[in-house]
Amino acid sequence: MRAQFVLSEIGVGLRRNLTMTFAVIVSVALSLALFGGSLLMRDQVETMKGYWYDKVNVAIFFCNKGDAETDPKCTKGAVTTDQKDAIHADLKDMPSVESVIHESSDEAYKHYKEQFGDSPLVNSLTPDQMQESFRIKLKDPEKYQLIKSAFDGRDGVQAVEDQRKTVDNLFELLNGMNYAALAVMALMLIVAMMLIVNTVRVSAFSRRRETGIMRLVGASSFYIQMPFIMEAAFAGLLGAGVACVMLVVGRYFLIDHGLALADKLQLIQFVGWDQLIAKLPLVLAIGLLMPALAAFFALRKYLKV
């Protein structure tokens, strides 16, 4: 197959259907931008869940040296080994507790750093400022109150926290947004595919003379269909390229500059550039393959070979 011949055919085809090509590019771009956005949103939720979210239900935080002065619950000073042992033994005796993990302040520091990376907040912390804790997995996550009533207020205990309650509302919101984005994406993708099918139909009709002759002189169906499929793939790739630009620009203005969420919400570790860039090849591949497939199936209907 001669590349130059095929390329010139693609150029002619795309220019002939300029408005339709433009519509394809825009709809592919929007749907893939939403797709990439929802992928990033999922990453964002994962990042925010942190180390313990999926592993445990309840955390018992112990007083450390620093808390003794600031927290009224910790006036008796930092937790002692005896207190911890007693609580551990009590937890072991409770039938609704499945397992207990001890997180030392060093480990807490490590996990915190993994979640929040190099933010200025982390850099100002030292390991001994972190709280020791018991992380408890319950057989029934709803029984959280049982733990709270048993241990809240005991000597050396600063707080008993239901891990999920604190962040679930936010996650539900993010998940909801994610589903909405996916739904709009699916709709846009369907629109894009229908546009492509129509473009191919128009294209095949306006070139029926050429394709008829190709058929007569024995051009293979691959050769006859290739320009149409490449046209769709090329338009799709352009759309995917636009989607990538939208994602990059979107992150830039939402997080780094413009809205500058990274400055305003320092507690949240946002998805990084590396995660964003990791999504782009997938977006480009889908932008290339989906339209090509749509064109291929449209051709089976509109182009007799």
Binding site: R209, E210, G212, I213, M214, R215, L216, G218, S220, S221
Partner: protein, 229 residues
Amino acid sequence: MIRFDNVSKTYPKQTRPALRDVSLEIEKGEFVFLVGSSGSGKSTFLRLLLREERASHGQVHVLGKDLARLSNWKVPHMRRQLGTVFQDFRLLPNKTVGENVAFALEVIGKPRGTIRKTVPEVLDLVGLGGKEDRMPGELSGGEQQRVAIARAFVNRPMLLIADEPTGNLDPQTSVGIMKLLDRINRTGTTVVMATHDQQIVDQMRKRVIELEKGRLVRDQSRGVYGYQH
């Protein structure tokens, strides 16, 4: 070269078959006229040869291949050994004469060097030497048909199928086209030509196959167009 064994063809949603129990054989190197009134089944006959359609019953053999058993992806390769010419020429109006002929070679992936060499040769053969760069619209009907024949013949096909190639041409021009087809036939290419042109058939005295309402009603060597109706 071509063999029909009890071939019938009924198009979907139609009760009357377009071809009914046709059996015949055409040898290599023959020149055959296919005659009959409109709707007699000539076009269906040619479409079966090109495997644009498949027979409903019976077997069609072309170039030694049973077309019913030929898988779809092999059809293009079969068609490369056939040349086809139509009443309406079917040239690409936005390409020059040379490009039109070259197109047939390009789309089957022939190397550029071969194309550059063979296109002028075949244009010389059909009497259009030096008109490579003209557009089809600038040519007369007879010349356009010569371009179409050049395109059909550029692959040196074993079989040339012509569907009323002189249908749009005046008698004098038609004679020129027939001389060209005769010359191509003499190089060993089998020619099957559907026509309504009584004068030509009577002059050429070649084998005549007549179809009527889908049936083979006459197969006559050195025949004439028809009995007086």
